[in-house]
C-alpha cells in the first residue's frame, strides 16, 4: 500500500521545506487558498468522511461546520499535540518527521473556519518535536506560507507552539483550552462547546495532529478518493501504534479496516516468545479489552471495533500474552488514571483512587470476592457522571477486564497471592511496581 501519512519513511529529509515542496508540498494549501471557498473545503472534508484521530472519532468536517459563520469574535484553531494516551506514539513521529504536513493541514483548516491564529499544544516532554515544528514554521514563514498575506492571497495565519507542563488531562480538549489560557487544566462542562466558546471565549476548533495531516491529501486528491480507502464510513490511512508482547512493535500506517489479527501476527511478527495471545486493548488504555478470541475477529476501524464491543480510540494497540497477569495489568491502568485524574469532579477524583486501592489489594492477594462486585459498581457509578470522559476511560477497562478474566481475579482471592508472581513476564512488572509503591 502507498504510504500517505508516513511518506518520510520513503523520502529522506521530508521535514525540510525544499524536500516537502519537491514532493508536492503546499500545493493543497495553494488550491485551498485560490481555487476553493471555505465552504467548499468544509464540504470536501465532510465528503471524505474523515473522523478525528484524537480518540473520539468525531467527523471532522461536521465539527468545522459548527463554527459560526461571520463570527464577530476571532476564531481559533488548536492543534492537539499533547499525545499522552498510554501506548500511543503516532503524533511524536509526525512532529519529528513531517512537520510541514501538520502546518499545511493547520493552514487549510484555518482557511476553512476563518481562523487567523492557531495554537499547537504540545505535551511537555516533546522537546525535539517542538524544535522540529518550530524550525519548519520558521521555514514556512520565510517562504511566506505562515504569517501575513499567505502566498499573496491576503489571508493571514499566525501559528504559535505551546508546551504543556505535563498532565494527561491537558490533552482533553477543554482541559487543553484552560491550560492554554494559563489556568489549571480542569476540563469544562459542556455546553458551551468549544465551537461556540473555546479558547479565550471565542469559537475554536480542536483537532488532533494526525487528523490535520489527512487534510492536505483530501484537498489534493478529493473526498471520494479518501473514502475509497477502507470502510466508507470510517475511511482513510491510519497510524497504528503497536506495543506489548509482539515481536515487532512500532508505528505502522495501514488502511482503516485492517484486520487486528494480521496487525498482530503479520505486521507485528506474532507474539513475543511464541507465546499465546491473551488480550488486546485496541485503542490505548482507555477502552474495553478484547480477549484473544474476540481480537482475531476484529477489523480495525472505528465502527467495526465499536460493533465488537470496544473503541478504537487512538489506535494504540496493546498486546498481552498468556504470561500477563490481568489483575496486575488492570492495576497498572488504574494507577495511571488515579495519577492523572485532575481531581475536579467527585466520581473520578474518588473513584479512580478507590479502584486502584482495591486492585493493589487484589493483586497482592489481600482481596475479597466481594471486591469484584465493588469494582464493577464503582466503575459503573463513575461512568457518564463526570465532567470529562477520563472517568469512563478507567471504567471501561475495569468493566471489561473483570468479567472477561474473572477466573484470574478469583484465583488471586482464593490463593491469597498472584499466581503469576514467580513466573512469566508479570514478575518483572511486579518488582518495578513494588519498588514504586
Amino acid at each position: 500500500m502507498e504510504r500517505i501519512l508516513t511518506r518520510w519513511i520513503d523520502i529522506p529529509d521530508l521535514r525540510h521545506l525544499n524536500v516537502y515542496e519537491a514532493h508536492g508540498g503546499y500545493k493543497a494549501l495553494r488550491k485551498a487558498l485560490f481555487d476553493m471557498t471555505p465552504e467548499e473545503i468544509i464540504n470536501e472534508v465532510k465528503a471524505s468522511n474523515l473522523r478525528g484521530r484524537g480518540g473520539a472519532a468525531f467527523p471532522t468536517g461536521v465539527k468545522w461546520s459548527f463554527i459560526p459563520k461571520d463570527s464577530k469574535k476571532p476564531v481559533y484553531v488548536c492543534c492537539n499535540a499533547d499525545e499522552s494516551e498510554p501506548g500511543t506514539f503516532a503524533n511524536r513521529y509526525q512532529l519529528e518527521n513531517d512537520p510541514h504536513g501538520i502546518i499545511e493541514g493547520i493552514l487549510i483548516t484555518c482557511r476553512a473556519v476563518g481562523a487567523h491564529t492557531c495554537y499547537v499544544y504540545l505535551r511537555g516532554e516533546f522537546n525535539l518535536q517542538k524544535r522540529r515544528l518550530d524550525e519548519a514554521i520558521a521555514e514556512a514563514r520565510a517562504k511566506g506560507y505562515v504569517g501575513r498575506n499567505i502566498m499573496g492571497s491576503g489571508f493571514d495565519v499566525e501559528i504559535y507552539t505551546h508546551r504543556g507542563a505535563g498532565a494527561y488531562i491537558c490533552g482533553e480538549e477543554t482541559g487543553l483550552l484552560e491550560s492554554l489560557e494559563g489556568k489549571r487544566a480542569y476540563p469544562r462542562n459542556r455546553p458551551p462547546f468549544p465551537a461556540i466558546q473555546g479558547a479565550f471565549g471565542c469559537p475554536t476548533v480542536v483537532n488532533n495532529v494526525e487528523t490535520l495531516t489527512n487534510v492536505p491529501h483530501i484537498i489534493t486528491r478529493g473526498g471520494d478518493w479518501y473514502k475509497s480507502i477502507g470502510p466508507e464510513k470510517s475511511p482513510g490511512p491510519k497510524l497504528f501504534c503497536l506495543s506489548g508482547h509482539v515481536n515487532k512493535p512500532g508505528l505502522y500506517e495501514l488502511p482503516m479496516g485492517y484486520p487486528l489479527k494480521d496487525l498482530i501476527y503479520e505486521v507485528g511478527g506474532g507474539i513475543l516468545g511464541g507465546k499465546k495471545l491473551k488480550g488486546v486493548i485496541p485503542g490505548g488504555s482507555s477502552f474495553p479489552i478484547f480477549t484473544a478470541e474476540e481480537a482475531v475477529k476484529v477489523n480495525m476501524d472505528f465502527d467495526s471495533v465499536r460493533a465488537a464491543g470496544s473503541l478504537m480510540g487512538t489506535a494504540g494497540v496493546m498486546v498481552m500474552n498468556e504470561d500477563t497477569c490481568m489483575v496486575d495489568a488492570l492495576r497498572t491502568i488504574a494507577h495511571f488514571y488515579h495519577h492523572e485524574s485532575c481531581g475536579q469532579c467527585t466520581p473520578c477524583r474518588e473513584g479512580c483512587g478507590w479502584i486502584e486501592k482495591l486492585l493493589i489489594d487484589l493483586e497482592a492477594g489481600r482481596g475479597r470476592m466481594e471486591d469484584l462486585e465493588i469494582l464493577i459498581d464503582a466503575a459503573t457509578n463513575m461512568e457518564g457522571n463526570t465532567v470529562c470522559v477520563l472517568a469512563d476511560s478507567l471504567s471501561m477497562p475495569v468493566k471489561s477486564f473483570v468479567p472477561k478474566f474473572r477466573d484470574e481475579f478469583e484465583e488471586h482471592v482464593r490463593l491469597g497471592r498472584c499466581p503469576f508472581r514467580e513466573t512469566g513476564t508479570a514478575a518483572k512488572g511486579h518488582a518495578a511496581a513494588a519498588a514504586a509503591r
Binding site: A167, R184, Y186, N189, H338, H339, E340, S341, C342, G343, Q344, C345, T346, P347, R349, E350, G351, C352, G353, W354, K357, I374, N381, G384, N385, T386, V387
Partner: protein, 530 residues
C-alpha cells in the same frame, strides 16, 4: 416563561434559571454542593445529577438552563443511584470525624447522607488519604483539608468576589487539597464568607468554633449595625447572648455577603460596660435608681429648665446609631412636648476605621445616618449647640447614642459643653460621656429591639428583637414614651410598629411604609425611584 415538568409538576420558570432554581420554586430540592447562586457555575461535585428526558446521560441541574417542554426526574431510579454514588465517593476519603467537627448539625454531608444515601460504607477506614487538619489559614479561618469536598466555592469566592485569590487547589486527583500559597495567608476583609459558603466542616471560624453547638442557636433576621450599608444578617443567639452573625441574602443591599468587621461587631454589644439600670449623679458618683425615680427626676428637671429659661434652653443630640423610630420619638418629644427645636445629629466614625471599598464596606460606621436626614433632622448641628451653650442659651442636653466625649476628646468636650447645667444620656454602655452626665438611662442595643435603620441608599430595613435587653434597660422608644407621660400625662405609642405608623403619617420620606410591610429585603424611602 418556559414551562418545565419536574417530577410530574409543571413549573413556570423565568428564562435563564437553572434546574436547581426552577425546582426550588416548586419546593423540590435538588441536592447540590458546588453550585452557589452568588458564584460562577463549575459543576464539579456532581451531586445535582438529574434525569432529563431525551438526554442520554444524566445532566447536572446546576449547569442546565430551563427550556420549554423539558421533562426532569429528580427521584427516578437513575437519579437516586447517582446521588447515592456521589455521596459514597465523597465519603471515601472523608475522615468521618463528625463527633469532633464543629460543623455538625449544619453540614451538608451529614444532611444529604441522611436524605439521599444512608448506606453502610464499603471503604475501609484505614485506607483513607491523610491531609492537613486544623490549619490556621489566616483572617480567622481554620482549614481541615480532609473534610474538604473540593467544591471550589471558597476559591471562587476569593477569585470572583474579592479578587484576592488567596486559596487554591493544589495537587491532583484524590490528593487535591485546598491551601494558601506558600508563605501567604488569607488577607482580606471578607474572609468570613468562605466559612458560610463552605458546605462542610472544612472551613470554620476560629472565633466561633467549639463555643456552641449550632443546634442550640436561635436565628433572628436583622441588619448589621456596623456601617451605613446595613447588610442583612441573621443573628444567632442563645439565652440572651449572640454567638455569631451570618449574612442574609438581600439582592438590594449585600447579596450573599458581609464584611468581617461587621461580622465580628457583636461582642462590643455585650461587653462588661452594658448599662443595666438608670443612674443618677450623687456628688461625684453615678448611683443606680429605679425608672420611676429616674423619669420623675428628669421630668422635673425639664420643667424647671423650661420654666426658668424657656424651652429652647433644652437641646438634644441624636446619634446615627439610633433607629428611625428612636430618632422620630425623640424629635417628637423635643418639638411637640417640650417645645424646643434645638436638635443636632452626630454621625461619627472612629479615626482609623476602614474607608469605602468596592464591595460593601462604607467609611461611615453609622447604620442610620440617612434615616436621620430623612426625618429632616439637621446634619451635624453640634457647633450651633456649643455656641448656644457659650451664649448661655442652652442649659440642658439630652444625648442619645452619641459618645460625645470620645468623639471630641475630653478637653474639647469640656470647652464646648462644660458650661451645661444638666446632661442626660440615653445609651447602651457606660461610655465616657456617661461619666460626665447627671443622669444616665440604659437602653436596648439594636439586636434587642424592634425597629428599622435606613441605609445610605435610602433602603429602610427592619430590625427584629432577638432577645430582651439586659437588666432594666429598655428600648429607647419605650423610655421616651414614659418620659413623655411623666411630662404631660399623655399616652404615646411605645411599640416600634406604632411609632413607625406615626412616623409614616408625619414624615413625607416614610409615607406609605409600614414596619411589617418592609419585608425581609426592606423598602425604599418614599420618593426614591427604584
Amino acid at each position: 416563561m418556559p414551562k418545565v415538568t419536574i417530577d410530574g409538576r409543571e413549573i413556570d420558570a423565568p428564562d435563564g434559571v437553572n434546574l436547581i432554581q426552577a425546582a426550588e420554586r416548586a419546593g423540590i430540592e435538588i441536592p447540590h454542593y458546588c453550585y452557589h447562586p452568588g458564584l460562577s457555575v463549575v459543576g464539579n461535585c456532581r451531586m445535582c445529577l438529574v434525569e432529563v428526558e431525551k438526554a442520554p446521560k444524566l445532566q447536572i441541574a446546576c449547569n442546565t438552563r430551563v427550556a420549554d417542554g423539558m421533562v426532569v426526574h429528580t427521584k427516578s431510579e437513575r437519579t437516586i443511584r447517582a446521588q447515592k454514588a456521589v455521596l459514597e465517593f465523597l465519603l471515601i476519603n472523608h475522615p468521618i470525624d463528625c463527633p469532633v467537627c464543629d460543623q455538625a448539625g449544619e453540614c451538608k454531608l451529614q444532611d444529604y447522607y441522611m436524605d439521599y444515601d444512608a448506606q453502610a460504607s464499603r471503604f475501609p477506614l484505614g485506607k483513607k488519604n491523610k491531609k492537613g487538619k486544623a490549619l490556621d489559614v489566616g483572617s480567622g479561618v481554620m482549614l481541615d483539608q480532609e473534610r474538604c469536598i473540593l467544591c471550589a466555592r471558597c476559591t471562587r469566592f476569593f477569585d470572583e468576589v474579592t479578587h484576592t485569590s488567596e486559596l487554591a487547589i493544589f495537587e491532583r486527583g484524590d490528593h487535591c487539597e485546598i491551601d494558601t500559597y506558600p508563605g501567604r495567608k488569607i488577607d482580606n476583609k471578607y474572609a468570613g464568607n468562605v466559612v458560610d459558603i463552605c458546605p462542610v466542616g472544612a472551613l470554620t471560624e476560629k472565633d466561633f468554633r467549639f463555643r456552641m453547638r449550632v443546634w442550640y442557636l436561635h436565628r433572628t433576621p436583622s441588619v448589621c449595625g456596623g456601617c451605613e450599608r446595613g447588610c442583612s444578617i441573621d443573628i444567632y443567639h442563645h439565652r440572651g447572648r449572640i454567638y455569631r452573625y451570618k449574612p442574609r441574602y438581600n439582592p438590594a443591599v449585600n447579596s450573599y455577603w458581609m464584611c468581617d468587621e461587621g461580622r465580628h461587631g457583636f461582642p462590643a454589644l455585650q461587653g462588661e460596660t452594658r448599662l443595666t439600670a438608670p443612674l443618677a449623679q450623687d456628688k461625684d458618683r453615678l448611683v443606680p435608681e429605679t425608672w420611676a425615680s429616674a423619669l420623675r427626676r428628669l421630668a422635673s428637671r425639664i420643667r424647671e429648665f423650661g420654666n426658668a429659661n424657656g424651652a429652647n434652653s433644652i437641646g438634644a443630640v441624636i446619634g446615627a446609631q439610633s433607629t428611625n423610630e428612636e430618632a422620630f420619638a425623640l424629635k417628637r418629644l423635643m418639638v411637640d412636648t417640650i417645645g424646643s427645636d434645638r436638635l443636632a445629629t452626630v454621625s461619627w466614625s472612629a479615626p482609623g476605621a476602614s474607608g469605602d471599598d468596592e464591595l460593601l464596606i462604607r467609611a461611615n460606621k453609622n447604620p442610620n445616618t440617612r434615616g436621620l436626614a430623612a426625618l429632616g433632622l439637621p446634619a451635624h448641628g453640634l457647633d450651633a449647640l456649643a455656641n448656644a451653650v457659650a451664649a448661655g442659651e442652652l442649659k440642658m442636653l439630652i444625648v442619645m447614642r452619641a459618645d460625645l466625649v470620645r468623639m471630641l476628646g475630653e478637653e474639647e468636650f469640656v470647652r464646648r459643653f462644660g458650661a451645661l447645667d444638666y446632661m442626660v444620656v440615653l445609651d447602651t454602655d457606660a461610655n465616657e460621656t456617661c461619666q460626665m452626665a447627671n443622669q444616665v438611662l440604659p437602653i436596648a442595643a439594636y439586636p434587642e429591639l424592634e425597629g428599622s435603620f435606613t441605609n445610605f441608599q435610602g433602603r429602610v430595613q427592619r430590625l427584629s428583637q432577638a432577645f430582651p435587653p439586659p437588666g432594666q434597660a429598655l428600648p429607647a422608644i419605650e423610655a421616651l414614651a414614659r418620659l413623655g407621660h411623666a411630662l404631660d400625662g399623655g399616652e404615646r405609642p411605645s411599640s416600634a410598629k406604632d411609632v413607625f405608623a406615626e412616623m409614616a403619617a408625619a414624615e413625607s420620606s416614610f409615607r406609605g411604609l409600614t414596619l411589617e410591610a418592609l419585608g425581609p429585603n426592606g423598602a425604599e424611602l418614599a420618593g426614591l425611584s427604584s
